[in-house]
Symmetry: C2
Subunit: 232 residues, 2 copies
């Protein structure tokens, strides 16, 4: 019998944000795949471990999913990981990739799953709480109501144009580019700016207003830009 | 001691998509508030009930959250529900609103929470799997990868302009307007269209291609529009 691959979202940081399905499938897995070589620094694994203390007894492969803007290097890295996973699946194993947030949104898992599907391997994605929902809820405010649109940008290119869109805007993965982001936000009128860093962890911090935004956006910062309501 | 209000997301339909936190807080609640008078037809309650069979022993208020496009009637309805909830909170009760999907995205709870905050009542939102993530995962495909943007529209106004945005587009709440939506989708080049109805329930159905889309979009249909990749 052939194995299969699961991409399992574990939410952004709070182990209580894990779903029943994620817990069941992690426990049923033969092999876990984690995106950091050092498991003590792997956020996805540490979230899961708090919810599933016995996770240590499951065989675990820890790879360094190196972040690079070089598309070819990136593809080579994915292929290298996939080749190892493929052998396990062909040996009948159920392999689970742990991903922060949700596997459908900006996850490395999606590249591995694409390679697997091309080889006819069954893949299943298990929803996790994504950072869009988690950050709004940490701030205790709605992202969108009624007919408001929602727009998400995962980098800081074309930010000016993006900020002109109607409704609520979410900026993810600001990287080290916070100064530029703040400058662009300051130029916009009638917006309210919020952000959350390290959402769901013990280090979570909420920011209200451009002035409060940190200088360094590298640590899992999500910015939410709302259009100010006209008073009636 | 004063009570508080929780908005608890229970996901789109699959009871296994419920989080540990949602389960704990529902169990700890003094009173549950549900958005349908008839609990057997209340999707949020039925999802929770499958995950928490003992939910029947918790006091439950079932209101009909009537959907209306009349803003004033809508506000009156929210106020009426809020006034009842407020008394409970002032009597020290912990009141939990069950919401389909996530409370930050297009939930009725957010209006009640806003009224409560104005009265100085503590409100907490508990993330649920939103339909954006759930539908993509049911389809077994990523919503966004790399630098792709994500855009969500909760109605069918300005759809043409919306479909011109870069990246992945999600159309929610198509209502009875499916014919118009399909016509507009057909006019676009280089897009791939997917949809999921009744996501996470036993009646879930996935659609691939405009031709497969149902004529009737009223029953929890989410459409995902992806830009076709240029082959390299």
């Amino acid at each position: 019998m052939r194995g299969r691959i699961y991409g399992i979202g574990v939410g952004t940081g709070d182990p209580e944000d894990i779903t029943l399905k994620a817990i069941r499938l992690i426990k049923e897995s033969d092999v876990l795949v984690c995106p950091r070589k050092d498991l003590t620094k792997c956020r996805a694994y540490q979230i899961a471990k708090q919810a599933i203390p016995e996770i240590g007894s499951i065989e675990t492969l820890a790879f360094e999913f190196e972040m690079t803007r070089d598309v070819y290097e990136c593809k080579r890295n994915h292929k290298k990981i996939y080749d190892i996973v493929k052998e396990l699946v062909f040996a009948g194993k159920m392999v689970a990739f742990l991903t922060i947030g949700d596997p459908a949104l900006y996850s490395t898992y999606s590249y591995i799953a694409e390679l697997a599907r091309r080889d006819g391997i069954e893949t299943y994605s298990v929803s996790g709480i994504n950072s869009i929902s988690a950050c709004a809820n940490s701030l205790g405010m709605p992202l969108c109501e009624g007919e408001e649109q929602l727009h998400v940008i995962p980098d800081t290119e074309n930010l000016e144009e993006f900020l002109d869109l109607p409704g609520t805007k979410v900026i993810m993965k600001c990287g080290g580019d916070m100064r530029r982001v703040k400058e662009k936000l300051k130029k916009k009128r009638n917006i309210s700016v919020y952000a959350v860093s390290e959402c769901g962890t013990g280090d979570e911090r909420c920011y209200r207003g451009i002035g409060e935004l940190p200088e360094d956006g590298r640590y899992m910062l999500t910015i939410i830009v709302k259009t100010k309501e006209e008073k009636d």
